[in-house]
């Protein structure tokens, strides 16, 4: 039965997404989304397993692998995606082409999270990129188009690098299955080169510094809900890939006791945290602020990855339960919070008819739910208690502590403070009455935007906070 479910995870959204071309769009979208949420939730109850597709065992055939990481990531996609879909459903300004593309993204994410084959991973990445780029381009106007094109180009370059790595791996080991590759892995030059090339490819997709340049524009210019799913979910595909590469596929290479490549990741993550935070702090408009925040948060996740890699070099257990659970938890916290923030930010911008922060004051004050949503999102992103982000940060700090990695520990703390700094910029405006030095700019009349949109944002942010209460269940579920 679970094989049906696994197949449905990919096939269901894909088919309904395709059907949007021939059916009234919402009729196709509704079952697609509902099914996606349903299967994505159901997946949590299945036992970890491998499925050889078509009965062809690796190395000949493709296989799917459902393990803890993919299970939770799929569920995360389902929930964040489902709630974002709710927003999209109510968002009247959204072109109907959104639905087909979005279901494609969903299916691609699920396929990507399931696959255990490096080449298939490439194919799913491409499907994801194509759909995601098109989503960005849904916004009319040259800025969005330019952003979308840039996104496409970086994404393609990344794919090519990844494929180059796949080619090198195949040339070296003659297999494409991840598990088999891991077992065959040798610590030689070509393998290292393959890892390096593939890492860079995925970094480009995940907007890791210094390959982040496309993200702020793409995420800021996109439609609100698109920004949310891109920031919350799509870039996670690349990060997930990095996790798989560094801690699973190439584990024999990276977890050698004298391995020392991890600090490059840590360094990049650190720079991302500061650069993203700095930019978010000085950017004049709301959505770019949130987008730059994503750059910084990606930095946190990469830093966490680097620490995990380091942890595997210290003891031979490999990717332990604690490690991946913590990381996925961080990812989930960011996804929920960022989706909530983007949706709230988009709603406020829509209400104000304006993007600059300076012009948003009144709209912010008329959108208490959205402000609240943003506040909760900031709380979770910055790792203030009691939120998912907090538990995530607790885990990260504990990890850093165990590794005695003081520098990185300080970095992650400073990162949190930076998050608060730019989050404060927004919330402050929501509380300002603007007497005196900083008058709120006179407003165009506010647009009417239904409150339920704010509510959806709030639900997502609230989940990123209240999710903390599920921490024990999450950590103990597998233990």
């Amino acid at each position: 039965m679970t094989e049906w479910g696994l197949a449905a995870l990919v096939v269901w959204p894909l088919l309904w997404g395709a059907l949007t071309l021939v059916m009234p769009v919402r009729w196709a979208a509704l079952p697609g989304v509902l099914g996606g949420v349903f299967f994505g939730t159901w997946v949590l109850t299945w036992a970890p397993q491998s499925v050889a597709l078509g009965g062809w065992l690796p190395p000949l055939g493709l296989s799917w692998r459902l393990d803890g990481v993919s299970q939770f990531m799929i569920a995360l996609v389902a929930w964040v995606g489902g709630l974002s879909s709710l927003y999209a459903w109510w968002d009247r300004s959204l072109p109907s082409a959104f639905w087909g593309l979005w279901l494609g993204v969903w299916a691609a994410m699920n396929a990507l999270l399931l696959t255990a084959d490096v080449f298939h991973f490439y194919v799913t990445l491409e499907l994801l990129s194509v759909a995601a780029v098109a989503l960005v381009a849904l916004t009319p106007g040259p800025a969005a188009t330019r952003a979308a094109f840039r996104y496409l180009l970086v994404s393609l370059t990344g794919s090519m690098l990844f494929l180059l790595g796949v080619a090198l791996l195949y040339g070296r080991y003659g297999v494409l299955d991840m598990l088999l590759l891991r077992d065959a892995m040798q610590g030689d030059g070509i393998t290292a080169l393959a890892l390096a090339v593939m890492t860079l490819g995925l970094m480009a997709k995940a907007a890791v510094f210094p390959l982040h340049g496309w993200l702020p524009q793409a995420h800021a210019k996109a439609q609100t809900v698109v920004s949310a799913v891109l920031s919350a979910l799509v870039i996670k595909a690349g990060l997930y890939g990095l996790l798989r590469l560094w801690l699973d596929l190439f584990a024999p290479l990276t977890s050698q006791p004298d391995s020392q490549a991890g600090w490059v990741l840590a360094l990049l993550g650190t720079v991302a945290i500061f650069w993203g935070g700095y930019q978010a702090f000085r950017t004049p408009a709301l959505k770019p602020l949130v987008a730059w925040s994503t750059v910084a948060q990606v930095g946190v996740l990469v830093l966490a990855l680097a620490l995990m890699v380091e942890a595997t070099t210290r003891d031979s257990d490999g990717l332990t339960e604690t490690l991946w659970r913590g990381w996925v938890w961080l990812v989930a916290a960011h996804a929920l919070a960022k989706a909530g923030w983007f949706l709230a930010a988009g709603t406020v911008q829509k209400r104000a008819g304006e993007t600059r922060l300076a012009g948003l004051g009144v709209a912010l004050q008329r959108s208490p739910l959205s402000v609240f949503a943003m506040a909760l999102a900031v709380v979770s992103l910055a790792g203030l208690p009691l939120s998912m982000g907090f538990l995530g940060k607790w885990w990260l700090l504990s990890l850093a502590w165990e590794l005695q990695a003081w520098l990185w520990l300080a970095v992650s703390l400073l990162g949190s403070l930076l998050t608060l700094a730019y989050g404060w910029r927004v919330l402050n405006l929501g509380l300002s009455t603007g007497h005196g030095a900083e008058p709120l700019t006179p407003q165009a009349p506010l647009q009417t935007v239904p409150t339920r949109l704010d509510a959806v944002a709030l639900i997502l942010s609230a989940l990123s906070v209240l999710g903390a209460l599920g921490g024990y269940w999450y950590w103990e579920a597998g233990a």
């Binding site: 080449f119 194919v123 491409e126 990129s129 194509v130 780029v133 098109a134 381009a137 106007g141 040259p142 188009t145 330019r146 979308a148 094109f149 496409l152 180009l153 393609l156 370059t157 090519m160 494929l163 180059l164 080619a167 195949y170 040339g171 494409l176």
Partner: protein
């Protein structure tokens, strides 16, 4: 032995793709450069396949898949470039009109 030529040639094409991306002075050329890079990678796969006799079918299948993916992305990229051009024209027209009004 022939595959060695192609192998190194393929890498050369990849490198040229890199160069193209960095140097390109136009979005279209960038897109072309990525595709050049892609052709290089495909060639690499195929060249690796020939180390086995008869040639390994799996890389060939991968390349076939890759070609379709590449044409899809190329089509998308070109569509975006076209829209950029249209929007640039519109913007120009708008600014012309504004200039007339002023």
């Amino acid at each position: 032995m022939n595959e060695v030529v192609y192998l190194y040639g393929a890498l050369g094409v990849v490198l040229i793709g890199f160069y193209g991306l960095a140097r390109a002075g136009h979005v279209l050329q960038q897109l072309l450069a990525v595709n050049v890079m892609g052709a290089g990678v495909f060639m690499l796969l195929l060249a690796l396949a020939t180390r086995h006799t008869p040639a390994d079918a799996v890389p060939q299948a991968l390349v076939l898949t890759g070609i379709v993916v590449a044409i899809s992305t190329l089509a998308l990229g070109l569509a975006l470039i076209r829209r950029l051009a249209v929007e640039a024209r519109q913007a120009e027209k708008r600014s012309d009109q504004e200039a007339l009004h002023d």
